[in-house]
Symmetry: C2
Subunit: 421 residues, 2 copies
């Protein structure tokens, strides 16, 4: 709209805001973590069956209730033997009934060999396994007929997985705050646990704002753009294990935004808005929060500098900027790490080192976050420029490239830290 | 069980199997991809709203229906000007009504400046934006009163995002087979698309086998172990976007396994079993598949060598080995890459280079897959030994470490390829 004072707020309103100041990336990250601290309150855990706990953070230390393996067992299909029975030149041993996995074997008589299958209990009296491939004959004899097998000498413990060699009963299996992926859930199952205590998934109310923003699928009037922030952040949040409630798009009318937050925000653990936090004349989020304890500030970061943080009607609130790349960078730099640190989920991004394929420049007083594609050889190509509106370039990227504050120029071949998306 | 001939199949049955041979990792990967080719049949696509398409593979090329940005717009809050109006020393320009994002501005008269907000349409007649911070005064004047603002000289195009600078209408936005993550879905939204054609999620019937295997949560009799394969693979498959149907645990009775596959397999796109594919005496999966076109073979890989591949009652079938680490390695080496290649989803693992923290040895004739934890500095620590039963070590790993066939020794500091889990 071209009205000079939309919704009764003069353009100068920004100059009168009492909470304006600048912050480093680390300071803002710490503030977001503090804001979200209640997500780790004692009442915010639940116990889930393993198949529903994927991607959640473990809410208590888990000690191993059993050893893994629970008993000494064979690593190979072969013959269980007492190693002392076979001299260096090998020996012919009488064969016993075979030992299947899951069965309880008899004691191995001296001077005999028991066919044993992978995973089967090592019989008392045996201390090693000779693989079937090294036996003569190299296949199992027909059972019931008896017979002898020629076996080479073998050291005690060979091809035996001893009880507790992976983890002993009572040891810490997984620590509080571990993100539960397939391997961690598999370990809990191996330990016999069918359920696991995890942190509850936070519910986020997500609202995009702007008179210029139109829902995808509708006609696009002149001067308008489609809302990509809602889809982008909803997907990023879902991937991070959050429960996302979309409240659609608010216009630049602060009363409408306040009404939307109050009607849709019931029970939300966090409100995230996009847009309306900058220094323009019509900053709907700033205007809607005027009576709430919310700071609007600049983080020394590019893109994603303008940020809002506080509470709206006591619900934790984060105001991300309006450009899609700024939104994703805000999510990856602040919200995702805070959740990882508090709840163990989603898993933190692993910082990797890569070599720049091109030179770059960066404003020295800001932490610059570029988008790039990490190549198998370990170089990273920058995708698109510094600008925060380049969605197509973002969609061709697989990493965020960090250029810390204080760095103004980097050459091709210089090392940078990247985070895989 | 200790019965020498469980379920009527003598231990020698393996020796009579007609389909035994060895394969390289690449050959088996190609065979799995061929087996799963029907998943990309034309009828196997669906059109989903963006919010339900996360993690799916794009089933058609998408050309941009609009340009991004759709119109030239301001990159900053500031003043839209005609750059030729301001000489090197700056100029005092009369201010016009402000241009908000989403509004349709009037033509900019020569010698004037229009307050303009980030994202707003650049008025006809203007060709540059001066950020508010560089204006005197450095805040917007109260609208309606008029007045002048002093602005420095600026080059044409400064802080203007030109129409189509991210992508032009008609250009390829995303190619068939792109995995749809947050950024890709955000791009589709920015292009105004509310729905997207994707490949259907395959349904997998997952069965673990073995007389020795007990469901987690139940008592553990002597000689038995808990089933971790089911949980591990279900989670890995869910993470990869598959629909997983768990059919529980089959005993070592091949008739029971066949019955389970027939009763639970209706409509499945793929059957995956674990265990019973090796050279032991009681290999239930081999026995159950005796009348089916299934190959049992050894892949030159450690762990995960014994593999089954074919069809069971015309449903594609993969038989993974019985140890959990072997299962995960089989999934990551064969099933996941085949799905990535055919359907674009899940995303392929990006091969990274890392330096070994320790020396290692490897059987020269096999591709060895070790588990490791990649450190931020780019070194990789091996977690656990070569053995495939080490679930606790696997749960402490974040990468698979590849030691190709032909390599028998590596030193600390040597480079290896790793795949992040």
């Amino acid at each position: 709209m071209t009205s000079p004072t939309p919704h009764g707020h003069p353009p100068e309103s920004r100059a009168r805001h009492p909470h304006e100041h600048a912050r480093s990336v680390a300071e803002h990250a710490a503030a977001v973590a503090t804001l979200l601290q209640p997500l780790r309150a004692p009442g915010r855990t639940e116990t889930l069956p393993l198949s529903r706990a994927l991607g959640r953070g473990l809410a208590a230390d888990v000690a191993a209730p059993v050893s893994l393996p629970p008993f000494a067992n064979s690593q190979m299909d072969g013959y269980a033997v007492h190693s002392g029975d076979i001299p260096d030149g090998g020996a012919d041993l009488e064969t016993m009934p075979p030992v299947a996995a899951g069965s309880k074997p008899s004691v191995l008589e001296p001077g005999t060999a028991a066919p044993i299958m992978t995973g089967a209990v090592i019989p008392a009296g045996a201390d090693a396994v000779v693989p079937i491939e090294r036996a003569v004959p190299d296949h199992f004899l027909e059972p019931g007929r008896g017979g002898t097998v020629r076996l080479p000498a073998t050291g005690p413990g060979t091809y035996v997985r001893s009880a507790g060699s992976d983890i002993a009963a009572g040891e810490l299996a997984l620590a509080t705050g571990t993100c539960l992926g397939p391997a961690q859930l598999g370990l809990l199952a191996a330990l016999g646990l069918a359920e696991v205590p995890v942190y509850r998934a936070p519910t986020v109310l997500l609202v995009t704002t702007g008179d210029e923003v139109v829902e995808p699928g509708r006609p696009l009037p002149p001067g308008k753009i489609y809302d990509s922030n809602g889809t982008l952040l909803e997907a990023a949040m879902m991937q991070a294990g959050l429960t996302v409630r979309r409240a659609g798009i608010s216009t630049d009318n602060p009363d409408e935004l306040r009404g939307l937050l109050r009607s849709e925000g019931q029970g939300a653990d966090l409100i995230v808005t996009t847009g309306g936090v900058s220094k323009g004349a019509y900053e709907v989020v700033r205007q809607a929060m005027v009576d709430q304890p919310v700071d609007f500030l600049h983080v020394a970061m590019q893109p994603g500098g303008p940020q809002g943080l506080g509470t709206f009607d006591d619900v934790p609130f984060l105001g991300f900027p309006g450009n899609p790349v700024s939104c994703l960078v805000s999510f990856e730099m602040f919200l995702r790490p805070a959740l990882s640190g508090l709840l163990g989920a989603p898993a933190a991004r692993l910082p990797l080192r890569a070599r720049l394929a091109h030179p770059l420049t960066s404003p020295g007083h800001k932490h610059q976050v570029r988008r790039g594609s990490l190549q198998p050889g370990g170089t990273v190509r920058l995708e698109g420029g510094e600008s925060s509106h380049l969605m197509h370039a973002l969609a061709g990227s697989n990493v965020l490239v960090h250029v810390p504050a204080g760095v103004t120029e980097l050459d091709a071949g210089d090392q940078v830290e990247v985070w895989m998306l």
